[in-house]
């Protein structure tokens, strides 16, 4: 069923039908009502592909993340999805699997689909952003979030790694820890680097005993923690985990070693709030939720869109706030 079909039904033209459905004020009321009713009754659904081709706009917001199945991105996507629905956009998600070739493939896909905007969290070591910025540039906004390029020439929303890390460490600090272990991923992303540096800065400022370890798998994590907890003179009594995944590995170690927390060892994590509640007692954490970042991305997008129209588009960066949870 197309506009054509409806037009025939009323012995009128395609334009009139189109106008009845979209720009009501230009069609005689009586006719308009009849057309709308008929369209509704027949379940007419305008072909998006045709509309998009004509309008050169899709109302699709393309999102690229390394993995869909990650607590942080999940919360980001859930929130963005909700916003999009309210605002009459469609969210389309593709994952890069941290593969920069796949990332590029996804980018071109979105370009060819004429998406209205691209929100992207870069794959590790991605250098695609230079090509990409050129590609979309003046046509559609590209907003980088979470893992962002190291340049000021783009729109980006970074995670405030330093603030979140300090918030968590301060929480541990209140309970006068003797020796803090920081557990970090061992990939070379800005996130890991920032959190690691903030960790050591904090340790230094507070004149604490502390050690940051970088682990690449559960086994590695276990090995390093065993070393620290059972083969050292000084036993740590506080742990900071920079992510959910690391928290899981750490908790496996804790349970295996039958260490009591928070009594023998105090634990805090950066998290989007799901995993820490899988354990009893619940783990303290600083909420680094994707929700806020999604809201910021969308707000940023609307802002830029207007700017693009006014030709004032200019690189800017925003940082979200963080909150502590499950505190004792």
């Amino acid at each position: 069923m197309t506009l054509q079909d409806i037009a025939k039904q009323f012995n009128t033209s395609i334009s009139t039908v189109s106008r009845s459905l979209n720009a009501p004020y230009h069609v005689k009321n009586s006719l308009r009502y009849k057309i709308k009713e008929y369209a509704l009754e027949m379940g007419f659904m305008p072909n998006l592909v045709a509309t998009n081709l004509r309008k050169k706009q899709t109302n699709i917001i393309g999102v690229i993340v390394p993995f869909i199945s990650n607590n942080f991105y999940e919360s980001f996507l859930a929130c963005l999805d909700e916003i999009c629905q309210k605002e009459n956009y469609y969210m389309m998600v593709l994952q890069s699997l941290n593969d920069i070739n796949k990332e590029w493939l996804n980018i071109t896909m979105f370009k060819r689909l004429n998406v209205s905007a691209l929100f992207i969290c870069l794959a590790n070591n991605s250098h695609n952003y230079s090509k990409m910025s050129a590609l979309f540039a003046s046509q559609f906004p590209v907003i980088y979030f979470d893992k962002v390029p190291n340049t000021n020439q783009v729109f980006k929303i970074e995670s405030s790694d330093r603030i979140a890390t300090e918030l968590a460490l301060n929480q541990l600090f209140k309970k006068r820890p003797r020796y803090i272990v920081g557990i970090f991923g061992n990939d070379n992303t800005s996130i890991v680097r920032n959190r690691l540096v903030s960790f050591y800065d904090f340790i230094k400022t507070k004149s604490l005993q502390g050690k940051g370890i970088q682990v690449n798998c559960e086994e590695d994590c276990k090995r390093q923690l065993q070393q620290l907890f059972f083969f050292n003179k000084d036993t740590p009594n506080a742990i900071f985990c920079m992510s959910d995944e690391l928290l899981i590995w750490t908790m496996k170690f804790i349970q295996r070693s039958q260490l009591k927390y928070p009594k023998e060892v105090d634990i805090i994590s950066l998290s989007n709030g799901i995993i820490p509640n899988y354990f009893f007692p619940e783990i303290e954490y600083v909420l680094t939720s994707g929700n806020e970042m999604a809201s910021l991305c969308y707000a940023f997008f609307k802002d830029i869109k207007n700017d693009l129209v006014n030709k004032n588009g200019e690189a800017r960066s925003i940082k979200p706030k963080y909150f502590k949870k499950n505190l004792r």
Copy 2:
């Protein structure tokens, strides 16, 4: 940059350019090479929207799931994504949030986008499938998976709830349990019903003592388990969880109550294999992975697609196999 632009560059027609790029055998080699090279160099990307309008085909496989952030769907999506990439399809995911209105919105969206196929796991209590089947019907295949309509008139891939449940219970049975608790969701889905019935059938057949409880939240789960474990004459010594979420709640109870497993209570779960490894010792489980279902969906789709061409399309249903993991 469009075909037009390239055509001008070589003083030739749009068709020749199009053919050079898509149907090489119809263009003189020398010209073809030059055109392809030029297109590559200039980073030409054919407009998908135009192609789709013309071909009435999008190469997008639309997927609707209740939630993206669910271990089972994650594995399904990850696997399907991989397949799609290999086969030159794009996977587009929308979530219904178990809201049948949002589900319907998503369905119409996919319809209007002319997707090549729709894979859908129904929202709880959805009755949209009757309208939907009519909508897509002969045009595109609709494949229902996991939560499927209770009719034989559609293409569907069900989970083999009975087989998976029996596999898990048999594993418990080997260790001669005195009293098995089965923990089930309390939504009225076919999955819950099937697993619950299988549970009781098994208990009966083996003449075991057993009780199935249905819980709707962590608190409820705790309350009911406390009752069974601490306020009853007979204490259960084996637990069967029908899903990951229930396993998490159960483990919270176990840890809180300081029950030892597998010594004091043996635990097994149906799972897609992530959550059971969050605990130490790891929990035994029967793998109900989304991966296999994704493969089956895609294979089914290709099959139906050919059938549709041959006008032999006929409702069929397939069931996947399951495997046990983490066994002791």
